[in-house]
């Protein structure tokens, strides 16, 4: 059955490839690929069925054999090889899981709980890991293996972590599904670029201004739409994201249209020194000031620390605000907005605050992006960026700060490492979003720790055990 469906699914799109022959469109059959795909899907489905009916052992062996063979056997196309390998891996994991489950007669719910418990343990560990991770992040530029590529990757990851933490305020805490977060990122980036180029403002003046402008944009966009219910809200924010992008694309006089803005000024060292080899007269260069040899890496390292500091600022803010009435009201809003109103909480103000604050962080991240790239265009702010940031928040577990970090490593880090498979990047990104939702609809780390305790503090693990009423 599954094989048949796969056959039908792939027959037209994979089997008959449209090619242009002498500027006329025609089709080129690839029926062998279709047959193989269907066969592979059939095998996989068969494997799963057999495994489910009580023979996981042999299936596991077969899957592992396929996995091994997949590397060496010749395949007609690369795509099929990837399909075979991924399929075999999935079957292997599923059968392993089945083997494990046989020794472990627990219900789905209990297993979910035990996963939650793992999450809780991990969160316990973050008290330890957190500072270690920060220390590691601080030391990174001076580690022996660190080169330009590692630093660039670090900056990229930290930018997404910052965006993830920013969006977490709206999505994770306040429970508002914002599909247009990238609009504020764009507003921040363009604000910086335009302010710096038109008025010659320095980066350090522009950073807060860009944040302010983005949060103003958040207020103006947010005010009319915050009354809407969940799904409608999501669609409207998506619409706003697109409106901002279309305006950037078409308002050529201001934004440079599709060509974007180039030559955006680089940041200086807190306004006292530049990162240039030969500073303009009357100015000091960073390497002269500290008596170092000039190196272009200095600027990269500085940018790295800058984004690290900004990201940590967002994190600190979120951790603090969760313990304040505003943060608690956000979470209450996520849980039940009608009860919130009945307790005298003004939903609109609270939501606006979340929207504006998240927008501000998005804007700050945007101006960092602009200064790092030196060039921005509407292309960098498409819906897919919003989706990626949202995926980071949701996959990590809504409201979980450490979850955002882990999800960023997965979503941004992994594809960067496996650059050879670049063409499958977005494909597997989409598939991954679906799979993780199926596996854990609440995200990887969904344990939530109370922000205030009546009784003496215990570890998250114990609290978790208590909270779910386990003995």
């Amino acid at each position: 059955m599954a094989g048949l469906v796969a056959l039908l699914l792939t027959l037209p799109l994979v089997g008959l490839r449209t090619v242009e022959v002498q500027s006329r469109l025609t089709i080129e059959p690839h029926l062998a690929e279709v047959a193989m795909t269907a066969f592979l899907v059939f095998l996989g489905r068969l494997g799963l069925t057999v495994a489910a009916s009580g023979l996981p052992g042999p299936v596991l062996l077969a899957a592992l054999a396929t996995l091994g063979a997949g590397w060496f056997l010749p395949f007609p196309t690369e795509a099929l090889r990837v399909l075979a390998l991924a399929g075999a891996a999935v079957v292997a994991i599923r059968t392993l899981w089945a083997l494990y489950r046989r020794q472990d007669p627990r219900s789905q719910q209990e297993r979910d709980r035990s996963l939650d418990l793992w999450g809780a343990r991990l969160q316990d560990a973050t008290r330890l890991i957190g500072p270690v991770a920060v220390a590691l992040a601080l030391a990174l530029p001076f580690l022996p293996f660190t080169d330009r590529a590692v630093l660039d990757l670090g900056i990229l990851l930290l930018t997404y972590i910052m965006l993830g933490w920013g969006l977490n305020i709206v999505v994770g805490l306040a429970g508002l599904l914002d599909l247009g977060y990238v609009a504020f990122y764009a507003v921040g980036a363009y604000s910086y670029a335009l302010l710096a180029q038109t008025f010659g403002f320095s980066f350090w003046l522009c950073l807060p201004l860009a944040g302010l402008l983005a949060s103003l944009a958040g207020l103006t966009l947010g005010f009319p739409v915050l009354r809407l219910r969940g799904d409608y809200f999501a669609i409207v924010t998506l619409g706003f994201g697109e409106i901002v992008r279309i305006i950037l694309l078409n308002w050529g006089d201001l934004t440079g249209g599709p060509n974007g803005i180039a030559g955006i000024p680089r940041p200086s060292f807190f306004g006292i020194a530049d990162f240039t080899a030969t500073p303009a007269s009357g100015q000091v260069a960073f390497h002269q000031m500290f008596g170092l040899q000039y190196s272009p890496l200095h600027r990269i390292i500085f940018l790295y620390y800058l984004i690290l500091a900004l990201a940590l600022l967002v994190n600190l803010f979120t951790m603090r605000i969760r313990r304040l009435p505003l943060g608690r009201a956000w979470e209450a809003l996520r849980e039940d907005d009608i009860a919130c109103t009945a307790l005298g909480i003004n939903r609109t103000t609270i939501k606006l605050a979340a929207f504006a604050i998240a927008a501000m962080f998005g804007g700050i991240a945007g101006s960092f992006f602009a200064t790092r790239q030196g060039f921005i265009s509407p292309e960098s702010f498409s819906f897919i960026e919003s989706a990626i940031i949202l995926a980071i928040v949701v996959l990590g577990g809504m409201g979980s700060q450490i979850g955002v970090v882990i999800a960023t490593l997965l979503v941004i880090g992994l594809p960067e490492v496996f650059r050879d498979l670049a063409q499958y990047r977005m494909l597997s990104f989409g598939a991954g979003m679906v799979l993780i939702m199926l596996w854990r609809p609440r995200g990887l780390l969904s344990h939530r720790e109370p922000t205030i305790l009546l009784h003496p503090r215990k570890s998250a693990t114990q609290q978790h055990a208590e909270a779910v009423g386990a003995p």
């Binding site: 008959l16 490839r17 025609t26 089709i27 795509a79 669609i235 989409g430």
Partner: protein, 305 residues
């Protein structure tokens, strides 16, 4: 005046296409209360399959246009229906009764997946298709004036849409499937207690929605003659806007919304600016949601306390 008339014709044609896609949104939202984000991609896949089957039919030597069109329609509806069924089965059914946001996220993931899947297997380049029907009926042709024309294709699109709409309304109103759908819309748990196979009903809803999106895909392929893997996103948003404008959950509403969106887009492009025509759609979406969230033909809906 003639220019106006021409835009009216263009807008109605466009609106028919949006309306067909909007029906898919409105039915799914009505029955499981979820925005099927991947629906726009199904429409895009429909357009691709249309291109491919036109070429295939051509290669098989069928050159009589009506037969070719019918064949292509049938093929496309069949294949998109399978896609609709699979998407529901894989990405949404396991998440029924889960956290509210989970199916929406899963749908976004699905949409990204489908887009890249098509890009991967069919290439990122725009696919041009030679015109299939080029008969034009000239309605008004003054010497030196503007020529108003309606093409046979536009007539075909309109006729097909009207026929599908009538057939569809009958299905919902008369058949047991339609009754089951309406029952699930009201109360899924109760419906299943009364012996309605809820899973099957929902699957069939997706299948029907996808088939209609497939028809829209065929139409857009014939109408514009070019297809690329990115058309699903924008068309999806516009069709969703149409569904909301007409009142989500209402079939005539979806059609009406589609027509309005098509007309607005045509007139906006004609009289204001082509660049901002998408902004116009979004602004309408926002305005409708703020001032009349139930749409034009929707039922009033009070916040349940």
């Amino acid at each position: 005046m003639d220019y106006f008339l021409q835009q009216l014709i263009n807008g109605v044609t466009l609106g028919a296409i949006y309306g067909l896609v909007a029906i898919g949104y409105t039915m799914v939202y009505g029955i499981i209360g979820m925005i099927n984000f991947a629906h726009g991609e199904i429409y895009m896949i429909g357009a691709f399959i249309a291109v491919i089957s036109f070429l295939a039919v051509g290669l098989l030597g069928i050159t009589w246009v009506p037969l070719a069109v019918v064949l292509v329609l049938i093929l496309t509806m069949l294949f998109t229906a399978v896609y609709g069924w699979t998407v529901e089965r894989l990405a949404y059914r396991p998440l029924r009764g889960s956290v509210r946001l989970a199916p929406l996220i899963s749908a976004i993931g699905m949409s990204i997946f489908l887009q890249n899947y098509v890009q991967l297997v069919q290439g990122a380049r725009v696919k041009p298709l030679p015109p299939v029907m080029s008969d034009v009926i000239v309605l008004a042709d003054q010497a030196g004036g503007f020529r108003v024309s309606v093409s046979a294709l536009q007539l075909l699109i309109l006729a097909l849409t009207v026929a599908l709409m009538i057939g569809f309304t009958q299905v919902i109103a008369r058949t047991s499937l339609g009754r089951a759908q309406r029952a699930c819309e009201q109360d899924m748990k109760m419906a299943s207690l009364l012996g309605i196979d809820v899973d099957r009903t929902i699957s069939l809803t997706f299948v029907m929605g996808a088939a209609l999106a497939g028809v829209a895909g065929v139409m857009v392929t014939m109408y514009y003659g070019v297809v690329d893997f990115y058309i699903g996103f924008l068309a999806g948003i516009k069709a969703f806007t149409a569904a909301v404008l007409g009142g989500i959950g209402s079939l005539p509403g979806a059609m009406l919304g589609g027509l309005l969106i098509g007309l607005i887009e045509a007139f906006w492009s004609a009289y204001f600016s082509v660049e901002y025509k998408d902004v116009a759609t979004f602004v309408i979406l926002v305005l409708v949601l703020i001032f009349r969230p139930t749409g034009l033909l929707g039922r009033p809906d009070l916040e349940k306390v």
